[in-house]
Subunit: 361 residues, 2 copies
């Protein structure tokens, strides 16, 4: 095979795939990149075992063939290429990569050893790629880190008859994003948040529609120039709807960015462990206060209030900051009380809601 | 005391000082920042024990006083301040910091505990700060990392009657930069490269002349709004002049950036341990070649040659890249043979020379 391709396209694809191929793979074949020419199309593929990604960047392709090359090294080489244009050629000794006056020859491994791409089946749900990327991106922060129960490290995609919903929660906070106008078969696959990050990365590069094929063990996403198979997480996702509060004692409207920045400041002196920041609501203002080992800090913000005042609620500062991040304009903070969950929504972002559980005082 | 200051100036100063104050100090007082108002001047000071820095940012100062605050926390708080203007005040409970609607109060420690700034003595050498920064910055790369003999981790500043010279070497390569027009007392203090980095940082923010006061145990640098005391390294600096080659078998003239970029590419496939890249000089060109576990790479560059060809010399790619970095236009590479040191100079950078010892073939 012989492939001519814009260096930038090849570098972008190799960079994306390099992220999937595990640096220290349990099976050496997973550290490899599959370079395949078939049906006049270049296919580049990597697999982490849990996550498979195939990219088909625009290229001129002659002949057919498939080889494995080390993913990280290949990506480094492509990035370093001079000029605008790259050529790939299989030769008896391996794979040749050429750009400008630079030429390299890589030892290759047998492509047969590479895991097959999981074939999608059933009826797909189709939606604009940017809607899917936005839904995942909007709730991602609320998924848990390593130390929590596995299912909390997932993002639930709810495919319903009237919408797509993305949900993430770590048990202390919850984020939900609804994208209307999408119709699905009433399934709720839970995908690992880290795999979802890679899907978002791919979607941001790809224009157009994406088709999701969910089945019992995975979701396959198929776009114009890529396909990605994400293994589902096992276990049942928490019954989150019951923690979304419906009755409120106090409702505040405040500029989202101003509130976030004020919390960022006050939390610098907060207790390092708890990250506790107190919000004292009263008479057209909220006073933020924190106190830690080295001192104390406070700041006042004007806001619109209706309901029971005064009320003091303590939050983990990071949770509020995460929930507010990306919101512009007016945010509505609805409190059900100092110890029960608070609801946060943004006026300019319909579809998004966040729940933050206050700290026990 | 009561201090009014532009937030940006305070944040810059605190950021610089935070770098000096060790995060995990052997003596807790070294993690502190001294905030002092004296003679209508704000003085901010940090010490690592080996390196003392005092900054005097422009400020409005009322009263006198001195307190210690945690350096990292103070810097974080200042960075987070809203608005353009900050106010510092001592109050009975500590130090108050205010900006916009944000106010914080920090617990303070007794300023008496802070080490005194080493007083400079003797006759100083005066030179433009940018010349000193440039001299150090130009040779810094050749100083050794942790694993080498201590003295190789230093930069020698040679103060002579007709010039300042900065020198660094790790035993495998050498960098020298001469700044003419500076006259000194014929001293050769060796300062730790890491301390020198901090001096360069400070000099880049400070305009104007800097006075160096070298003595037996330290160099004190005094600028318009700062002073810094750097402890000298012990031991004798290598007799580097004898490794600078004076006779050459081959002389090549090549575009510095083109050569560096070509080496960067070829080295991607080089042996990871040795980083070996072969340069084969012949007939108006050099061919760069490397070979490693995963494959091989080569690239050809045109150049002007005079002397014995063909000649093949093997280098550690990183050493050549470092030596070439920052050079623009034509570079002269003078070879004394395949196993003896090579000399590199840049046409547009008089004063700079680098020596790289080839790898044993």
């Amino acid at each position: 095979m012989r492939i001519g391709i814009a260096k930038r396209s090849l570098a972008e694809a190799a960079g994306m795939l390099e992220r999937i191929a595990p640096a220290k793979a349990s099976q050496p074949v997973l550290g490899q990149l599959l370079v395949e020419a078939r049906e006049k199309t270049l296919r580049l593929r990597a697999s982490s075992g849990e996550l498979d990604l195939e990219l088909r960047p625009a290229a001129e392709v002659e002949g057919e063939g498939a080889v494995l090359v080390p993913a990280v090294l290949f990506s480094q080489l492509v990035r370093a290429l001079p000029g605008e244009y790259a050529e790939l050629r299989t030769v008896p000794e391996g794979l040749e990569l050429e750009g400008g006056s630079f030429r390299t020859r890589l030892a290759v491994a047998d492509a047969e050893a590479f895991p097959a791409f999981p074939e999608p089946g059933g009826t797909p749900v189709k939606l604009p790629g940017e809607v899917l990327a936005r839904a995942i991106g909007r709730v991602r922060y609320a998924a848990a880190h390593e130390e929590y129960r596995a299912i909390f490290r997932g993002i639930q995609l709810e495919l319903r008859s009237d919408r797509l919903r993305a949900v993430a929660t770590d048990g202390f906070r919850l984020a939900v994003f609804d994208a209307p106008g999408v119709s699905g078969p009433d399934l709720k696959p839970v995908i690992p948040a880290r795999a979802a990050d890679e899907l978002v990365r791919v979607l941001k590069e790809a224009d157009g529609e994406v088709a999701l094929y969910p089945d019992a063990s995975r979701v396959v996403a198929v776009g114009p120039r890529f396909r990605m198979a994400l293994s589902l997480m096992e276990g049942s996702f928490p019954d989150y709807e019951r923690v979304i509060p419906a009755q409120f004692a106090l409702e505040a409207t405040v500029d989202a960015e101003a509130l976030r920045q004020a919390i960022e400041r006050v939390r610098v002196v907060a207790d390092r462990q708890s990250q506790r920041v107190d919000l004292a609501f009263g008479e057209g203002r909220v006073e933020l206060a924190a106190e830690g080992e080295y001192g104390s800090g406070r700041e006042e913000l004007p806001l619109e209030l209706s309901g029971e005042t005064p009320m003091v609620v303590a939050y983990n500062a990071q949770y509020l900051i995460d929930a507010l991040k990306g919101l512009k304009g007016a945010a509505h903070l609805r409190l059900s009380g100092p110890t029960s969950p608070s609801l946060l929504t943004g006026e300019e972002e319909p579809g998004y809601l966040a729940v933050v559980v206050p700290l026990r005082v």
